[in-house]
Symmetry: C2
Subunit: 199 residues, 2 copies
């Protein structure tokens, strides 16, 4: 990687952490300069606007979440195991988040839904990828008889993601992991008792 590419990558990583804590609207060029240690010219050398940086920073943050999912799923074969692996990524969300500031998909969805169409679209794409991941696990699981025949992948994806993200929101609001723990334990029980086929 060239030195210019290294700098660009560093700006994206540092901006992603800034935006994930302070929000995109709430972060100024001064804030970006502060966290990167660069002057305006140094940043504008790589990005035409704050908006362009925001979109690249979000894509980076979403890719870090996706990497975590891929890592957790490695070597897990059974649908129940694979769904629980998805939960395990969020067990780490408070202590060791993919980007400082919690779940970047939750944060960007909430900030952008009524305010920033381009960021909203990126958040939808990231959410599509997460839902698709769960859909494929469930559909394969049903096909292999690992999950009950009547399990609906839209339902499972919605319940898992909604409960996880709501649990993250509560734990981050209070600075108390027990909310997210309760949410994830509830989902483990849901997966094992309602989704898993008995064999």
């Amino acid at each position: 990687m060239s030195k210019a590419q290294q700098t660009k990558t560093r700006i994206i990583e540092q901006a992603a952490a800034l935006f994930n804590q302070q929000g995109y609207a709430g972060s100024s060029m001064s804030d970006i300069m502060r966290v990167t240690g660069l002057q305006k010219g140094g940043i504008y050398h790589h990005f035409q606007s704050k908006d362009e940086l925001a979109l690249e920073a979000f894509d980076f943050a979403a890719s870090r979440v996706q990497q975590k999912f891929m890592g957790a799923l490695k070597g897990k074969r059974h649908a129940v195991e694979r769904l629980i692996a998805i939960l395990s990524v969020y067990e780490q969300m408070l202590d060791d988040p993919p980007v400082q500031g919690g779940c970047p998909i939750l944060n960007t969805a909430v900030e952008s839904d009524d305010a920033h169409p381009a960021l909203r679209e990126r958040a939808q794409l990231a959410m599509d990828a997460w839902r698709g991941l769960i859909h494929r696990i469930v559909d394969k699981g049903v096909m292999r008889g690992e999950l009950h025949a009547n399990v609906n992948s839209d339902t499972v994806a919605t319940i898992l993601i909604a409960t996880i993200e709501g649990g993250v929101m509560l734990s981050k609001l209070y600075g108390d992991a027990s909310y997210l723990e309760r949410a994830l334990n509830h989902l483990k029980t849901y997966i094992q008792n309602q989704l898993a086929a008995l064999i």
Copy 2:
């Protein structure tokens, strides 16, 4: 109500809708002037700072949610009925929200948790009130034998709030009510099948 009080109330209501869509950080004094139709002086006559207005606007938004809960709970006696009444408030969250922009508690929690301590504290208080409401319904329900003896009110409050707010986030991200509908249907089943005592 005096004319001055009417104006102050109007500013709070209009600012609440603005902040709930654009965020507190993302809303400038110009935006506040635009939505209220007032000059800077007209706003600063009632509020010492944007921050002071933000806190009053949040308290107003949270009180609108609380009003909706109280209205839905009127005349409902049984714990199962009362928990389902809480869900019904969120059935309306997309078409007829207490304040434009979705759930103000979710929005403010996510924006403030890493960025705005005073707003974060107000969001915690609003969340405490919601959790307390659910705690009291569950504790009374267990005491009356309407819910299973082993039902834990911390768990129920966490699961209900997390799943509801995650469902709101998904439906608002996609502009599609089906995510929130799935989340609420899942919770109805949870209440009726896992919490309700069989009599």
